[in-house]
Symmetry: none
Subunit: 187 residues, 4 copies
DNA sequence: AATGAATGAGACTTCATTCAT
DNA sequence: TATGAATGAAGTCTCATTCAT
């Protein structure tokens, strides 16, 4: 197994365990075992547990960005682009429940707190595209002139909540529901 | 200090530590110390750490119910009652950030998972009032006929997100913003 | 409840718990609860746990002595007196399994060790009578001239073992078996 | 020190402490210290304290079986074979007082209770040989036809008692006494 | 004498991390 | 690089004992 493969194997094992058991239920030894390496080996790739957790977050975020980037539409009305992004995200979460669960774990822990702040001061990737989308929308008067952060909360909040309900098995997401959710987010 | 006072003191210390540091960062020893009692004393009031965590959840839930109950309006249009509940909740969270933080911690942990399910099958208290509000709204055709769970996600989701942003200091909630959020939830 | 009653109640509770659960499984709080008194009250009657355990031993020993004393026969051959003592002891243990279990616990613990030594240097009560019985037997040449301690082991050992097997339910002691055991002890 | 050595070192330390101080007086920390390892290391070899205690029992039992197996005589009269086994056991206990003390502790504790029952339903090792010896004896009418369990009690009981008295220093076992005890057991 | 809440030492156990191989 | 045995700090919980009431 190449170096990169082994690192990926560890990240994958960590993701699955964190998603299923939470941070608390996934000691380094279990992660190593699931990844098929020795306990000490993990430290060849990640200096500490904290760093592993952070790198995994970046990895997941990057995956989402790549996914959305591939399906992006630059042309079209703000409404259409919004629809694309939101339904894309929703579909991603539904098809990658472990990524979703991990993001939730991460944000809801001391680890994630600092990232909320970083988000506020700007970051790279998908969020930028989202922001420019909102900015365009506001310019065209199709989106109300609300502080950006609130906009984020209002649109992404329901998205996360619906995704969570789906993953927990409370609801079954079909195309109609996706559409419904997107509409709700838009409204 | 009376027995009840001491129990409250422990709950208070636990709430603050859990809210600030998460479950992981708040060992029983710290809770005891912050409450001004010996380590063993906590076990006079709570059989185990898990039970303390659960009782604290019930306590917080109860506080919220009491708060909303005191400000409830039974008369009025669905829209007005909705406004009352939502803005009430928002105000509660903003003025009781530790309760809010704790609820988040709790729901996002193995402890809280079972409660999501319980919520689904109905429970007592505020959620019932919320449901009947939604039911009334749907009957009067002022609320779209969407599955109840989704409705919860769509309305409470933004509420939680905005509250979180305020508590984290990203935004300053004023009356305008509260109104804005309520409107968004309603939409 | 009089003072003496209360002390007896505590001893009784301790006996039952120690017999059933062993020393390890019977904390002072349980003993107090079973005795119907508060935890602190036990310390009005027994300075410490160790002292309670020792006094309970003396109590049990005393009960056995009284039981045998009531049924003693001074007249008769050595063989007859031996038969009386041994079958009496056996019957006592069978009808008082908790006393028996306690004695076993006690002797098989750091607490009991010193009493083995004391026994060696002589003590009061039943053992004296047993000794004089053996001495008489040896004088009359009906008992082999073996060191007293060995004699004790050889005669009381089987007795304890049979009693234990009965209490544990491995065997059912009837008159025949009692007789058999007495004979074996005598042999 | 090799892995096996370290495991043996821990078992040895545990044996000595349990024999000297009883289960109660030998916490894991002391065992580890005596074995010359860190506290956590014990758990590399034994999942829990209970498991350590059980494995130590098996270890001691195995040692005794090996010892007797090496000195076994298959030929000879029942009386001779009996003599070999009993005096062998006695010598073993006298030369391995810690093993003896440990067996006593073990059987007289919640841990050992289940083994009494197992013994009853048969087990491997030395006890089988003992049983077949008794069976042969009964067939040849040199041993009375008594239930097997009683026979065990009657023969092994004195053996244990004499061994205990020797180990506690009450008596000095010499060849004569060994012979005497064997005779007594046989009778 | 009696209470029982409170104490705190100490027990068992887990696990992130290190390091000799 | 990789290993995995070893470490030991830290966590949860128990319980004999004390003491203000």
């Amino acid at each position: 197994m190449s170096k990169i493969d082994k690192k990926q194997e560890i990240l994958k094992a960590a993701l699955e365990l964190f998603a299923e058991q939470g941070f608390h239920g996934a000691p380094m030894s279990k992660i190593a075992e699931k990844a098929g390496v020795a306990a000490g080996t993990v430290y060849c790739y990640f200096e500490s547990r904290d760093i592993l957790i952070h790198e995994l977050f970046l990895e997941v975020k990057e995956r989402i960005n790549r996914f959305l980037y591939d399906r992006r539409i630059i042309e079209g009305t703000v409404r259409e682009r919004f629809q694309t992004v939101i339904s894309g995200l929703l579909r991603y979460f539904v098809t990658h429940p472990e990524d979703f669960r991990y993001l939730e774990q991460f944000h809801n822990s001391p680890y994630g707190v600092e990232y909320r702040r970083i988000r506020f001061f700007g970051s790279t990737g998908e969020e930028d595209r989202m922001k420019s989308l909102f900015t365009d929308g506001m310019k065209q008067k199709v989106i109300k002139d609300i502080p950006m952060v609130i906009l984020f909360s209002l649109t992404l909040g329901p998205l996360f909540d619906v995704a969570r309900d789906h993953i927990l098995g409370f609801i079954q997401l079909d195309d109609d529901l996706v559409q419904l959710t997107v509409n709700a987010c838009w409204d």
